[in-house]
Symmetry: C2
Subunit: 275 residues, 2 copies
């Protein structure tokens, strides 16, 4: 995102609502705040019901609607679904039932992967729910006919991130083990299909090797939202941020506070809220 | 438990209700069914809201009451809290609000650990919530003055069990890493403070070494319940099992079905239910 675009959006008209199954979506918040520092965000992390990964599509659709409604009640007029599991099961339902724009982490990653892949061999890592939803194998060949998609669910990576083992020996072994079947299929592009994974980007890059291009959905969705806002509000003056960012979590423990700091790279005020 | 005691309880008077945050409590079910094959059980696994580990005590108390009421509605007249996180936060509240006996996994393990420990140096592994609750460091010295308790939270072990990596190289390394600080404190007894951990018992035993006695709470609570039933119903005739076992989960995925089979060692019918 060109630096010069920063701050061209009238921040009094926009509030971005982001929800995730827990704290992973803070990787999206971090990207948004870095590109659009003046636009207020309201975040809801469903830490009381996390993780969404192993849950069924039906229950995820219910949770997604509740979360989006909470954000709208708190002033959001754009929704970003930061959770891959919810994005792959619940985006259609949200778009059918809400009158405001809904962005999610999957589509921009599909577009980016199709654009950058040299030979159309694309690997996906994510939770079991994201992989089982088959959202990537369905969407990628639609956009790039002939592309081959190879998936591997990595259920241990979320707890590893939350444990703070970002570069430990065990983490490197586990990442290597999870990437092995994808490398065997000679992928040239790898989508980090879970918002926690950007925190393991260094180890993933190392184990993937130089020939594999990494696609980070938190970055892709933030750029997509920014492009949309610049299109819609291009004539509006930039403004001083009038509303503060708010970060809600459905459950709060001392460890959550610690994890959020590692995700955002700074300490923020966290509020507890039920949906 | 002596084999001869099997079947001495009038199964028409008793239905054991067991709840857990997810599928881990099936290790308790397995022990109960092996000791008391004729007594019907009703199980509720809160897979929609799992894991309880990282959640706060307040929310766990709410969930525990909801789960216990569900079991009572399904005929339970004894409650077993199979989840360590819920047992350590919510048992008092359950006993204050319910008129039927409430058993839980912590007390029998405390008693066993105090009884078998040679030098009173007792290690505890569990989820972050169980460790933070300090229930073991509080209860063990009450029962065995002078005993020292050393804890280490092991948040990766639950997802490892659910991934089915019961004896992989990565699992052995992670178990070794988690046990290291406890072995450094020269524990002679180790309590598996989470219902998932019995599935890792072989690796844990191997990494703990022969000098450390392992206490398995799923076994201890099953023996405690059996002793109680034998005391209460000792004159009652044994009877053919008239009610079938029922296993409810608040969310069901194909992977859950697979995990339950590994926990119980056989396939059972699973029903979906909300509390």
């Amino acid at each position: 995102m060109p630096k010069g675009r920063k701050g061209k959006i009238d921040s009094s008209c926009v509030k971005i609502g982001i929800f995730d199954s827990g704290v992973g979506g803070f990787t999206v918040v971090r990207q948004l705040l870095s590109i659009l520092p003046d636009v207020p965000v309201v975040y809801f992390g469903d830490t009381a019901r996390t993780p969404y990964g192993p849950k069924s599509p039906g229950i995820l659709r219910t949770y997604a609607m509740e979360n989006a409604r909470f954000l709208i009640e708190h002033g959001a007029n754009i929704i970003v679904v930061a959770c891959h599991s919810a994005a792959s099961c619940a985006t259609e339902e949200l778009r059918e039932n809400l009158t405001i724009p809904v962005f999610e982490v999957v589509t921009p990653s599909v577009e980016k992967a199709c654009r950058v892949s040299r030979r159309g061999r694309i690997g996906i890592i994510g939770t079991r729910a994201t992989v089982s939803s088959n959202v990537y194998p369905r969407l990628i060949p639609e956009r790039r006919p002939g592309a081959k998609v190879f998936q591997n669910p990595c259920p241990l990576l979320v707890p590893i991130v939350e444990e703070g083992w970002l570069r430990s020996r065990e983490t490197r072994m586990i990442v290597k083990k999870y990437l092995r079947p994808l490398k065997d299929r000679q992928i040239d592009t790898l989508v980090l299909g879970c918002t926690h994974y950007p925190l393991l980007k260094k180890v993933i890059k190392e184990k993937a090797g130089k020939r594999i291009t990494i696609v980070d959905p938190s970055r892709e969705v933030a750029e997509k939202v920014t492009a949309f806002l610049l299109r819609r509000y291009k004539t509006a003056p930039s403004g001083k941020k009038v509303q503060k960012n708010r970060f809600f979590l459905s459950d709060l423990t001392p460890h959550t506070v610690e994890i959020v700091r590692s995700f955002l790279g700074k300490k923020v005020e966290l509020e507890k809220a039920c949906v």
